[in-house]
């Protein structure tokens, strides 16, 4: 039997992507289980000789990691929900209504996501300061929402366009308003798209550093990415403890993606129409 042409190359490419993606995460996990002494010993040990959870205990006691976790969760969840609601309405309008210059609107949305964050930092900071919102969840939720809108909208537009119009028409004849048809029929059927956009928005907000550092500097409002930088001292760099904190930061995202992955893959729209 001969392999289809290009098959080994495809597998190699896939392997490179998987290793490239997973190696750092696995390495961080392994590091978090090693003692400081083992980490610097030579030759390098791949598997921890003497696995320990002490780094985790220290990660939570050295810094208020739980507080950071809570802040990150609040900011990411709130901005994700807000992004999805606003993006769904915008995407529906673009996908369905007879808008003039639809293409131009889409182009503008894409273009708006191309500003480097650094150029936006000062104006955002000034705005939040004059609104008295520095060191609040709102200070991060609003800009995260705005920054996530373009990608969420684009993802949802393509999913909404794939849903047959007659399903909405049926819902409107059955008794829904246009918005009702959107929430009761279109959004549930676009669930894979909604989850995809939601995961993107959540991860973007969860990982964001620059705004979090600049807008919410007070200890009680720090998010994880900012908090994790504080483990290092002037002369010390406690890799195992930082790794433990990083694992704590990675786990919620990994769980989120694992849980929703099936829903993203599921083909919910099958069977409502002919064919």
């Amino acid at each position: 039997m001969t392999l289809p042409r290009g098959r080994p190359l495809t597998l190699l490419a896939a392997a490179i992507v998987v290793v490239n993606g997973f190696f750092p995460a696995v390495w961080i996990l392994l590091t978090s289980l090693k003692s400081e002494a083992e980490l610097v010993s030579k030759p390098i040990t791949w598997w921890p000789r003497d696995p320990t959870l002490a780094n985790y205990v220290q990660a939570f006691t050295d810094q208020p990691l739980l507080r950071y976790l809570g802040n990150s969760l609040a900011v990411a969840v709130l901005s994700t929900i807000l992004s999805l609601v606003v993006a769904a309405l915008a995407a529906y309008a673009i996908a369905r209504l007879n808008l003039r210059h639809r293409q131009l609107i889409l182009t503008c949305i894409v273009a708006s996501s191309m500003f480097p964050l650094v150029t936006l930092l000062v104006p955002i900071f000034q705005t939040m300061r004059s609104l008295g919102l520095l060191n609040t969840y709102t200070a991060l939720v609003l800009p995260y929402t705005v920054l996530n809108l373009p990608v969420c909208t684009l993802v949802l537009v393509s999913f909404f366009q794939s849903i047959p119009r007659d399903l909405e028409n049926a819902a409107m004849i059955d008794g829904c308003t246009r918005l009702g048809a959107l929430w009761r029929v279109v959004v549930p059927l676009a669930a894979p798209g909604v989850f995809t956009a939601g995961i993107l928005a959540f991860v973007n907000a969860w990982d964001e550093f620059l705004l979090a550092l600049s807008l919410n500097a007070s200890a009680s409002m720090r998010t994880l990415p900012v908090g994790i930088t504080l483990y290092q001292g002037e002369f010390t760099f406690p890799w195992p403890i930082i790794s433990a904190a990083l694992v704590v930061a990675i786990v919620p995202v990994a769980v989120l993606i694992a849980v929703f992955q099936e829903r993203v893959v599921g083909g919910l729209t099958q069977g409502g129409l002919k064919g």
């Binding site: 047959p164 049926a170 409107m172 004849i173 008794g175 069977g271 002919k274």
Partner: protein, 357 residues
């Protein structure tokens, strides 16, 4: 049950191109009306305007005397069955049918009763837990009809509901829809491009072409007294023979062959610059009956269908099709005489397409 009136209804998408031209129609209580026409004639657009899915550019749509032009679909008290079924894929059959009732805050036990009744009527009561994906095309269309029935709407709208089904299933469902109408006595507006469906189902048929109403009458009248060339050519399979002719001494001259016309018909045709002569294939017979007019012809093609044979014949310069008994065996080239009753002859003004009867 309700009556529906269309008064001078027009539709234009950009203010320039008009796709529906001032249509007047009146649909009575409990009547089964079919909009029929080729694709692009505006029949679905007209139905969607009644449903509220398309805006009305001009004129008025009235349901039970109330103008509904500006009412959203949900407030028009109509139910619609779509060509593609449009079942909610994320809901099971029960929930698909119950959805409209839930939105209208119907009590749960009333919902259950109505859904079960409709499901029994349509013989889908054993599969209510399934999702649409698990059903065949015919079953899906039944659910779509069930979803409309449970609402007990004033008017049922059907948008080419059978065109995605195979031929056998289409015939079965057609019979079922007809029975359903007899049983529910509901007002139904039904859109199709299939003239057989239109003839078999309708109390009255509206024939549409290019956004114009060509004729609105009973199937019998549409078939036997077509008001326009388009209607004559659209109905029947094969359709009416339509041949250019000139009027000469009270007869239609088909290029060498003269067919005498009834005096009244000849009088109507006199003075028209261009005429079309029409006769249905089944009215061209091989055996003469008293009063029949003879038409000399030459056989050119036989198409046996089993129960009968379609024979293409040369009459003068024109070609016509006659529906003959299956026993007809005359080879191409042989001369035969056809017979036709004068009452079955039609004349049309070729320029306007209007029938002269």
């Amino acid at each position: 049950m309700a009556q529906v009136e269309l008064r001078g209804v027009t539709k234009s998408y950009d203010g320039k191109t008009t796709v529906i031209h001032g249509i007047d129609l009146e649909i009575r209580h409990g009547e089964f009306v079919v909009f029929v026409g080729p694709s692009g004639c505006g029949k679905s657009t007209l139905l969607r305007m009644i449903a509220g899915l398309e805006t009305i550019s001009g004129g008025e749509v009235r349901i039970d005397g109330r103008t509904v032009n500006d009412l959203p679909p949900r407030n028009r008290d109509i139910a619609m069955v779509f060509q593609d079924y449009a079942l909610y894929p994320h809901k099971n059959l029960y929930e698909n049918m119950a959805f409209g009732l839930r939105l209208r805050k119907t009590p749960e036990d009333a919902i259950r009763e109505r859904v079960m009744n409709a499901a029994k009527l349509l013989r889908i009561d054993h599969m209510l837990e399934r999702r649409p994906a698990a059903l065949s095309g015919g079953q899906r269309q039944r659910v779509a009809i069930g979803r409309a029935i449970v609402r007990e709407p004033k008017v049922f709208l059907f948008d080419e509901p059978l065109s995605n089904l195979d031929a056998q299933l289409r015939n079965e469902m057609r019979t079922e829809i007809k029975r359903l109408h007899q049983r529910l006595g509901a007002t139904i507006i039904y859109v199709t491009h299939d003239q057989v469906e239109a003839m078999t189902l309708a109390d009255r048929i509206a024939v549409l072409s290019a956004g114009h109403k060509m004729q609105y009458d009973t199937p019998d009248a549409i078939y036997h007294r077509p008001a326009a060339l388009f209607v004559a050519g659209f109905t029947g399979a094969p359709p009416m023979n339509l041949v250019d002719c000139e009027l000469a001494q009270g007869a239609a001259d088909l290029g060498g062959v003269r067919v005498p016309l009834p005096a009244e018909l000849a009088a109507r045709g006199a003075g028209q610059p261009a005429l079309k002569f029409g006769v249905r294939p089944e009215n061209l017979r091989l055996v003469a009956a008293p009063g029949d007019v003879p038409v000399p012809a030459e056989v050119s093609l036989l198409e046996p269908l089993g129960a009968e044979t379609l024979v293409t014949l040369k009459v003068g310069r024109a070609e016509v099709v006659a529906r003959c008994p299956a026993s007809f065996r005359e080879p191409p080239g042989s001369a035969v005489t056809l017979h036709v009753a004068p009452a079955h002859l039609h004349l049309f003004d070729a320029a306007s397409g209007a029938a002269l009867h």
